[in-house]
Symmetry: C2
Subunit: 208 residues, 2 copies
Amino acid sequence: MREALAPESRPYHHGDLSRALVDAARRLLESEGPSALSLRAVAREAGVSPAAPYHHFKDKGELLDAVAQQGWDILNVAMTAARATALSVQDKLTSLGVAYVQFAREHPALYRVMYDASRDKADLPAHFHADNDSAYCQVRDTLIEAGASDDEVELELATNAAWCAAHGLAEMAAFKQFDHLKEKLGGEEAFLRGVFSHLGIFAGTASR
Amino acid sequence: MREALAPESRPYHHGDLSRALVDAARRLLESEGPSALSLRAVAREAGVSPAAPYHHFKDKGELLDAVAQQGWDILNVAMTAARATALSVQDKLTSLGVAYVQFAREHPALYRVMYDASRDKADLPAHFHADNDSAYCQVRDTLIEAGASDDEVELELATNAAWCAAHGLAEMAAFKQFDHLKEKLGGEEAFLRGVFSHLGIFAGTASR
DNA sequence: AAGTTCATCTTGACGCCGTTCAGATTGGAG
DNA sequence: CTCCAATCTGAACGGCGTCAAGATGAACTT
């Protein structure tokens, strides 16, 4: 009767509350925004008492960490797809950037949680540099592919630069000040590509 | 038992609570961080009852707006100074970027409030494009000075690109993942200039 | 089949939050 | 000196994160 769709979770009899809470949190996040994401509201949404989550997460922050982790997973998938469908090697990097910003624009609340969770720890998720298909590593590998310097420090600086530009753009694109630019350029993607075209590493100019 | 900690005295005999509250908020922000910034705590710090602020600000958000405004003012001053002391025209833009990020690094809590206040309104402060010595306008003017395209759309895209890069870097530089890079390059400013050197518009790659 | 165990979930409480409102206070205009 | 309007207080409301203690019931024994 119950579905064992989760790779790993409560092998025990009762409901898989841990996952149910994360799902409820994401549902609330999409429908009501980040400000409505209280622990009590999540418990309510999942149909349990306000104290129930504490048997699965140390505190609210740990629940949010789990939500954020799902966000990073989704982002990685989106960027893998973008990288695969890019036309030229040059285009790959810009497409990665556009995919990144579009993810942030489509899931603004989730995107916020992802960085808030990191910020409180002054630390990005562990998989950030480690996992080979992490968004970060994909940017770095694409830079190599595009003929970036193989000096390790330079490569890391370049990857960081690309990431910063995309992250900054993701936050800026939310402000309506730039709506007239998007209109003038014929849509958000054109706007994003326009901004990226001014940022060296995205412009196809291989960094030295 | 009141403390006359403010340099300037209160013109009226009964306090200039409005300013006192903003000062108290900034004091709390520096000492305890953004999470400790409750309206009640601010009132406590200012020595008034929890309801007193409501005679000067519609709600907590409006108080935060006033705090944020002070932040933008400080940032504008810092960037004006950076622009004035830059060596070459090329160096000006990078120096502006470095000044921006360093402001964010020196006042992380204030920087956060500045953008949080904007985000809730989906709108940047009014002076952003308007005031001539706003940080944004200074970046744009420096781009013109450096010989950027005079096409208005292109210019706005370029300014936006520069801002995004700086904003992204400001947030990224807080993560300790990049500490080893800073060490390897001999300090944070060198790290920042290194990242900027990979971003087209910050073309002047001269390091100090 | 019955009893025991133990993770899970609920109830109720604590202190803090933002916000409201009725009433006390008070500086200054008349 | 009186009165007004602006300012401030105290108490209250509902919501929050969190915790301690008790109830529940599936799974493991025997």
